[in-house]
């Protein structure tokens, strides 16, 4: 995986986030020849988690930072701070004058427009896009960022990529249906697939 093609994804790993937003993000990035990198890669290793996250961040030219859960949704629920913390590390590295790292480019995602102004207003001026926690919106966010920032030309339009994503999920389902001979087992496999395996499945079908 080259520095030029690697994208660090800093996001929640809640089940709903994975299904609604992370899996589409992975699909879009791989489809555009990029390599997603996540802290999940290091879940069962003996090294200090933060050191490994920093190692991944240093190895990626691009980053997607999702700050959509910095706001708690109900009383006594804590806002989640890992995402802004890792954005801060990434920003620090970009400004560290270390070779290559000053080229780093970010996409910052939030659920509702200008929420970030209330939680972390110092990032005003960054490329911030709003996904509204909706799958269709994440296709528009990534399309714009890949075009405007990464300068990928002649991308398929967001709706076509969204439909391609559904065809990919159908293809994966059909393969597992043939393997397990059961709709429920095929759905269960896809629901529980690890993120690295999911990325491999996308790569095999692109």
């Amino acid at each position: 995986m080259s520095f030029e093609q690697s994208v660090f994804i800093n996001c929640p790993f809640d089940e709903s986030y994975i299904d609604d937003l992370l899996k589409p993000i992975l699909y879009i990035l791989v489809k555009n020849g990029l390599s997603p990198r996540l802290s999940l890669e290091i879940a069962d290793s003996g090294q200090i988690r933060l050191q490994k996250i920093i190692k991944i961040i240093k190895s990626c030219k691009y980053s997607v930072h999702d700050l959509s859960i910095v706001k708690s949704k109900k009383a006594n629920e804590f806002a989640r701070m890992n995402m802004p913390f890792e954005l801060g590390i990434d920003y620090g590295l970009r400004n560290s004058d270390l070779p290559d790292l000053r080229e780093k480019q970010f996409l910052i995602l939030e659920a509702n427009k200008y929420d970030y102004m209330k939680a972390i207003s110092d990032i005003n001026g960054f490329d911030i896009k709003v996904h509204k926690n909706e799958t269709q919106e994440i296709f528009r966010c990534l399309y714009s960022w890949l075009s405007e920032t990464i300068k990928i030309k002649k991308q398929d339009p967001p709706r076509k990529i969204y439909y391609d994503f559904m065809d990919f999920n159908t293809s994966l389902f059909e393969e597992k249906l043939a393997e397990f001979n059961s709709d429920d087992f095929a759905k269960d496999y896809i629901k529980n697939i690890s993120i690295p395996e999911y990325i491999d499945e996308i790569r095999e079908r692109i």
């Binding site: 299904d19 969204y162 439909y163 999920n169 159908t170 389902f173 249906l177 709709d183």
Partner: protein
């Protein structure tokens, strides 16, 4: 030649039914319920499979009206 399956998918104006691999929807509807009803009728007539997707693109249900070696129950959605 294998028949193309039909898919109930979200669209910009609600829900749609489209063929596998198609870039455009066959028909669009204001509710998922209407799209599923149309998709079922279409798939019965064509003796093919109907995939009902969730709004996140994942598969919610599969209904087979074709020559399926493992036909599913006509599951609830």
């Amino acid at each position: 030649m294998t028949k193309k399956s039909n898919h109930v998918v979200p669209s910009s104006s609600g829900w749609a039914v489209k063929k596998s691999g198609a870039e455009r929807a066959s028909r669009t509807f204001d509710t998922k319920q209407k799209a599923v009803a149309y998709g079922r009728e279409l798939s019965r007539n064509e003796k093919t499979e109907l995939y009902i997707h969730k709004s996140n693109g994942m598969i919610q249900n599969r209904n087979s009206y074709g020559n399926d070696p493992n036909p599913p129950k006509d599951a609830k959605h």
